[in-house]
């Protein structure tokens, strides 16, 4: 108010119109930027989580391998055990069958069982009795069967029966 009685009105560089537009444009740009940042954030979030999940999955796959090994191990044990159990029962049945084969007249003294052979030492009243009752079944079971008789002073025969099964591998 140096020389004038009143002070001049305030002068603005930008008219209200311009200011409104400036504010409007800047607001829109800022909003779009915020939206963009949001998208970028979610984007990186997904990427990170995807990696995390991938690692988890790999870990799970390792666990599965682990379990599979254990399962395999158990199955092998089971197989072996069952084979053994079966073998034992088969063994028992074979021996039982064999002894059941023997008729009352014939008495066994000694039995030697090998994997592919069977040698029986016994006493029989007559050859025929042996041939009919024991030799025939034996022959049906084994591939080769030989018997040697020894006459005893009582009139009975000691016999030694050698029976073999031929394996395709040729083992005895």
């Amino acid at each position: 108010m140096r020389l004038s009685f009143i002070a001049p009105r305030k002068k603005h560089l930008f008219s209200i119109f311009t200011k409104v537009w400036i504010v409007f444009i800047i607001s829109i740009v800022i909003l779009l930027n915020i939206f963009n940042l949001f998208i970028v954030y979610k984007n990186s979030d997904y990427k990170q989580t995807a990696i995390k999940i991938k690692n988890q999955r790999i870990q799970l796959e390792k666990d599965i391998e682990n379990i599979d090994e254990k399962i395999g191990f158990i199955l092998r044990q089971k197989a072996v055990a069952e084979e053994i159990y079966a073998n034992n029962i088969i063994l028992k049945d074979s021996i039982k069958n064999l002894f059941d084969l023997v008729p009352d007249q014939i008495t066994l003294n000694k039995v030697i069982m090998e994997k592919n052979s069977l040698v029986i030492y016994g006493v029989t009243p007559t050859k025929d009795a042996y041939n009919f009752l024991l030799s025939a079944p034996l022959k049906s079971i084994f591939h080769t069967s030989q018997t040697i008789f020894y006459l005893t002073d009582k009139g009975w025969y000691n016999f030694v029966s050698t029976n073999k099964i031929i394996n395709p591998e040729g083992g005895e």
């Binding site: 140096r2 020389l3 004038s4 009685f5 009143i6 001049p8 002068k11 603005h12 560089l13």
Partner: protein, 347 residues
């Protein structure tokens, strides 16, 4: 904002000065950019009185303000309720019978004061409420800017600022004011000034003086009373609120007053307004010399800043009858107001 201030000078600023003369408004506009005046144009609008602004003018102002982002409107204050006094303190106001509470004032050089009543200021603001106004300048300010352009004179010098509608008289010594007086020469009721002074007799004028004096020290409220004096033909000359002592002494000058008709007859060369100017001049001088309030030194020189017209006869008369040297300068008040506003806005 301060930033706006700094950047402003690089943009186009338009300074519009509005002044009322006779029956028209004169609008002088200057466009300033980077400290250089880029454009200047002047526009006139017919006025139907000081009460309102022609709508064409409002539109013109609006157009200018829309065109230029930085626009300053400066108005020349020619209402009655203003003046200038020596000194700046409250006592000085009191001595000059000016009510400090009802005027707004400006201290110049920490020495003297230019004042104007709030009523007048608000009147102007209201007048320009649609277009706005930035500066309101007193004629004393205009006169002062002209005085400052010259080297300060040690001897007391009387300055006259002549405007169509007003006469501003001040006496300076060494750059300080000793006396200031403001006279309005036309009112709204007037169509033309010349006829009226003929109708109105000098005596009536004198009567006004006397009556004013009798009313005591008028503060600006006195303006209303002056209106009441419409009983008289027309109130053409309104003294400013400072009470003038009754001018009674017979003096060479007074002689001219007391017989106005005589004056007309004896000085046929002095016409119309010049008579008024002469009258104001002499009554101011009288007041200055007689009133103990004013430190009186003898005035040798009169400098006239003329924004209207002053006849040679008047100059002769002053030189011969008052024995004073006269310096005349023709000026364009409207443009000066413009320049003042440029200086003030762009500091």
């Amino acid at each position: 904002m301060a930033l706006t201030k700094v950047l402003q000078k690089y943009f186009s600023n338009i300074f519009i000065s509005i002044i009322h003369q006779d029956n028209e408004w004169i609008i002088t506009s200057k466009v300033v950019r980077n400290g250089v005046i880029k454009d200047k144009f002047i526009e006139n609008f017919e006025s139907d009185g000081r009460d309102n602004i022609p709508s064409k003018m409002e539109k013109y102002l609006e157009k200018l303000q829309t065109e230029y982002n930085f626009a300053y409107i400066a108005v020349f204050l020619d209402s009655m309720g203003q003046g200038a006094i020596s000194g700046i303190s409250a006592t000085d106001f009191q001595k000059n019978s000016v009510d400090m509470k009802s005027v707004t004032h400006i201290n110049i050089d920490k020495n003297w004061v230019v004042y104007a009543s709030f009523i007048d200021i608000n009147w102007i603001k209201n007048l320009f409420k649609n277009s706005g106004v930035d500066f309101i300048y007193s004629p004393f300010i205009v006169q002062n800017s002209l005085i400052k352009k010259q080297t300060p004179r040690e001897q007391p010098t009387l300055y006259i600022l002549n405007h169509n509608d007003s006469v501003t008289i001040s006496i300076f010594e060494n750059g300080n004011i000793l006396f200031g007086a403001y006279f309005q020469t036309t009112t709204d009721d007037k169509i033309g000034g010349e006829e009226d002074w003929e109708n109105e007799s000098e005596e009536e004028g004198l009567d006004d003086l006397i009556e004013l004096d009798n009313m005591g020290d008028d503060d600006i409220g006195g303006l209303d009373e002056l209106d009441d004096l419409g009983d008289l033909d027309d109130l053409e000359e309104n003294e400013d609120a400072e009470g003038f002592e009754e001018v009674k002494e017979k003096d060479k000058d007074l002689g001219h007053f007391s017989s106005g008709e005589e004056q007309v007859e004896s000085n046929l060369e002095l016409f119309g307004r010049d008579i008024l100017i002469y009258k104001y001049l002499t009554s101011s001088l009288k007041e200055f010399y007689k009133n103990p309030l004013y430190k009186s030194n003898f005035i040798e020189k009169i400098i006239i800043y003329d924004g209207y017209e002053v006849s040679n006869e008047l100059i002769d008369m002053i030189e011969n009858d008052l024995l004073m040297d006269i310096e005349m300068h023709k000026i364009n008040i409207s443009e000066i107001v413009c320049d003042i506003s440029i200086k003030e806005a762009l500091k």
